[in-house]
Point group: C2
Chain length 466, copies 2
Amino acid sequence: MRIRFPATIVALACGLVALSAQTGQRAVSLLITNGTVVTVDGTGRVIRNGAVAVDGTDIVAVGAADVVGKQFRSTTTIDAAGQIVMPGLVNTHTHAAMALFRGLADDLALMEWLTKYIFPAEAKMVSPEFVAAGTRLAAIEMIQSGTTTFADMYYFEEEVAKATKAAGLRGVLGQTVIQFPVADAKTPAEALARAERFITAYKGDPLITPAVAPHALYTLDGPTLRAARDLSQRYGVPTLIHVAETRDEVQTAQERAQLSPVAYLDSLGFLGPGVLAAHGIWVSDADIALLKARGVGVSHNPESNMKLASGTAPVPAYLKADVALGLGTDGAASNNDLDMFEAMRMASLLHKLQANDPRAVSAATALRMATMGGARALGMERQLGSIEPGKRADLILVGTASARFTPMYDPVSHLVYVARGDDVQTTIVNGRVLMRNRKMLTIDEAAVLREARGWAVKVRAAVGLP
Amino acid sequence: MRIRFPATIVALACGLVALSAQTGQRAVSLLITNGTVVTVDGTGRVIRNGAVAVDGTDIVAVGAADVVGKQFRSTTTIDAAGQIVMPGLVNTHTHAAMALFRGLADDLALMEWLTKYIFPAEAKMVSPEFVAAGTRLAAIEMIQSGTTTFADMYYFEEEVAKATKAAGLRGVLGQTVIQFPVADAKTPAEALARAERFITAYKGDPLITPAVAPHALYTLDGPTLRAARDLSQRYGVPTLIHVAETRDEVQTAQERAQLSPVAYLDSLGFLGPGVLAAHGIWVSDADIALLKARGVGVSHNPESNMKLASGTAPVPAYLKADVALGLGTDGAASNNDLDMFEAMRMASLLHKLQANDPRAVSAATALRMATMGGARALGMERQLGSIEPGKRADLILVGTASARFTPMYDPVSHLVYVARGDDVQTTIVNGRVLMRNRKMLTIDEAAVLREARGWAVKVRAAVGLP
């Protein structure tokens, strides 16, 4: 229960005639009104002329604009006429700092791309400063395209955390553990120690959820996989890992344990709630049942999987088994952007084609994957993923006035089959407005782009591009 | 050879010091300078600080900015700094007016979508006024997303032609011939007569290439297919037809003639230069060889094929056989927009996945398909598809300043994997600027969108949507 007196004082201080005492209106920090509210709640409610009331970090009400308008007032109101108000998008798998490698040597065979360009570039370039610069660049792109939460796997994750907090984004940030020497750890033991320091530094942060990111079964031995999982379980933080992304990985698991990648990880006691498996392409029905039984979340990354020719994740089977399934972009080096609207569109179109059924993944299903599905895959479904009172105010406003959106028979269809990141006008995370009418409020965009172009000159030299 | 005297007078009239007589500079109607020019010429030349000189309807020079700047001057100069200058995109298959059905009842089985929504909506709604309004809406979208030429198949094609000319776009416009009664013809004979009138009205037009559009083999009998082809051959205009789009069509051809769709059409003497086959999904290697031997162009429509679960066209095989292969969006009812950048991206990603090879369709190949490939498929490769002197000045400027484009190691990669229609800043067709810095110059956008929303109310009622 709020006390009304201070709110009245505030209203008077702002030169308003304070009606709250008479009308019983509750003062809140932000009112978004007159928009088409796509809630993604349990019933998929769409409110044609709707409003959302936000107080502090939380959504306190959602409903018809006239009803919410009678109950709440705010000195900060956003008129969302002609816009869709929806939950912020949850990107369940990316490597944010790799935005600095965007478009570096495409269209090569996977091993050539990795060994001639990406690995050498990482070996020579990755540093705290590089990771900070790359994350800032990615943060701009994410805010501008409506992503409000992202799950990251990379190095120097404390730099990712700092840049993410400064931008005002929400992150599930996984400090990488890998068997061979990398920029931020010479040994797995060093990586685990670094991960533990990172966890203790950020545990309980309102925006940052620290996590452990054992890279993959093919880059880690069994004991280190187990140690990484133990660490995250000890602190109750998520475990992010690449699982069953390539045919090669299937072969590695087969050679090591005569098991599928999923079954092998399970044989180590690795799988359980809090594990986010990125990709999940090469899985059998038994693997899917195992992932469901263990409460593992899965991140589907259709564009990256297509671009790298990794394969097609069995999305309809995951959905049928009710696995917690989110969408991701993967890093910008293999996408080549961080646009979750494209991920939605691709998820829907790809699985219609592969299932030979235009009903396979509907627009509503793709939208749910990119919001509630992602929240659930990350174990954050009570806080994120839909517009419902009590959840964090992670919201985006999407413009629908252009020719491309005209006419609009169904807003959910347009969000998936027509919208793209640049249609996002306003992005709000944890109740804070990070972008309003395309104006960035927390990042000096020009400075970050200048800095990124400077890094690109060095990357180009590092890999011998002209 | 131009006479310099009048140009000097013009320059003086504009208050300029006329240096042309001394410097030997040629006055031209438009100079685009300081941009990254992606020519899509035979060698795929990219000019980092380049310029394009346009005089009247034609490109007269392309090269380094300093060189072109010494040779040419203009009272109209566009500074393309930070932008890519490229050939306008060629959309080889669409139904422009169906933009008014955009997003009408998605995610249904094909026959349910067609018989419950699209066919009833067309039966009740299609009129000259509807087609004019829908084409105006599509024209805005095409100009805003960098399409400069489109191949259309629909009804009342004279209305499409009027709207296309008014917008300043280039169109290959196919008047539909179909066996059953439709809005603009009760019989195939009436449709053929209408097509002939349309051809005679527009033959020789600088922007409009009239064409005959027999709908498909499953909606036409053999004699009518033959009559439609005869008509287009008699006048030397293109023939646009859907070919091998669905499995059902394969079955129809089998039942009718124990042949594949391609072989059946060939058995009628239908295939030859000037035929544009849209989709071309269900084809054998022998069919592909036949299409190549007959000089038929093919339009690949990846997004529509995925959304309707039609199947995957064998694009690598078409490319290997050197079939004239362009890209298309299909109508906005099955896409749901007209963005050729998405068509490029999808063509590249889809065929990497299906071929299990990230090298399958490179960015450069996808870009070529959307420009030169389309021009060639439509028999316009001498006029369109690349930035080369003597070709028509159909050019677009793409902004690359945003975070999403940063950094830029390779402009061609970014055009395919990052760019989208809204990144187009300026669109030029036949030497005329139709949009400059996102400002529409030939269409009253607000009026057209208002009109489109009005039609949508009627469409909604026609199909019983709430």
